[in-house]
Symmetry: C2
Subunit: 205 residues, 2 copies
DNA sequence: GTCTATAGAATGATAGAC
DNA sequence: GTCTATCATTCTATAGAC
């Protein structure tokens, strides 16, 4: 597997000014609070203490703003994926999983929005670079062909990580506890496939 | 545990006319497609071939409409929870889990919205009957006190179920395959707690 | 119950002064 | 780069005729 070719496709590496980053961070907070669709330029501008025209000067449309937020957060995972593609031994998936979980716990709200906000999901599904990045992430997490069982496994992993970190039940848990527990149980999910691969599932009903 | 007392609190049992149900079903479809916040009365009315005033006659506010949709879908799980509360033996959680998974697979889009749409989540969190119902569901799935480990486990279970059924990776899977795979792996998640309970997690860092 | 019509507010987005 | 001001559109919600 020529990792140099794969690594070549980077996720939009365009740099941001400090002011732009402040807008993106504030927008992310409000997206998490109200959902993307219910968050207006006016609300973000008020939170920043500027007018919405000032924000339009930096992000010409709402889609562009949302994509920039998504890009900023997904980019944090890119190093982890590239590292995984560079190694490619039997412990690679577990190490990548740990980094994904860590990222999700540290950026709980962002992880949730990226996975579940209807607007973000629709936008990302329409942008090939994001889809390609997700494909790389999936391939590094669960190598090999993706038969139905592996697809369910991957979908469960991603949903469990993105959904758990903002679930009301864990709102009171500190990051260390949450990361430790979440990592333990997602590891089980990741390992279960290898065991189930050879033998036809035989469970007494 | 006096199950008769618990069963007494029912989730808003108010009946709906056929026309109301048609509105709720259409609304649910559009909520799934665009998100609740981005779905307007106008859009629902157009999809139904009526005017929005006709819908306002049945649901006086958008919040009321959203709550009615959520209520309609959550009510489908109520029988399963009551049955679980009535039995209360060691196999009860697994049986309840099976019914939750079945429901989620059969109503993929509804399950996803109930768990993740920002508007729905906010509304449900403000309505005690829904929270009480969720508490009952959680208690029946994982009996006993809910220390951090159990909370993460429950959050993962619910997130994995609600998130997986609409995940792009499983969009092509038929209901039977998805249910079977999802049930297998959620059972592992449910069982893992019992094993982890006695021993203090000792993993080499 | 459903329609037409509309009120009043907010939205995304732009023009032009400073 | 940020402001004021505005446009066209859409939104939730209501009034009143049929």
């Amino acid at each position: 597997m020529p990792s140099s070719l794969i690594s070549a496709r980077r996720l939009a590496p365009r740099p941001r000014t400090a002011v732009q980053t402040r807008v993106l961070t504030t927008a992310l907070e409000m997206f998490a609070d109200y959902g993307v669709s219910a968050t207006s330029y006016q609300m973000i501008a008020d939170a920043l203490g500027v007018t919405k025209a000032a924000i339009y000067n930096k992000f010409k449309t709402k889609d562009e703003l949302v994509l920039a937020v998504a890009e900023m957060e997904l980019a944090r995972l890119e190093d982890a994926v590239e590292e995984a593609e560079g190694q490619d031994n039997s412990e690679t998936p577990a190490r990548l999983l740990a980094r994904v979980v860590e990222h999700a716990v540290e950026h709980r709200r962002a992880a949730h929005i990226l996975q579940f906000d209807p607007v973000v999901v629709r936008l990302l599904s329409q942008h090939p670079p994001f889809q390609q990045f997700l494909d790389r992430l999936y391939a590094a997490l669960v190598p090999g062909e993706h038969e139905p069982g592996a697809r369910v496994q991957l979908a469960m992993l991603m949903s469990a990580i993105g959904g758990t970190v903002t679930h009301p039940l864990v709102a009171g848990l500190d990051d260390d506890t949450l990361r430790s527990e979440l990592l333990d149980r997602t590891r089980q999910l990741l390992d279960s496939a290898k065991r189930a691969k050879g033998r036809p599932r035989a469970r007494r009903p």
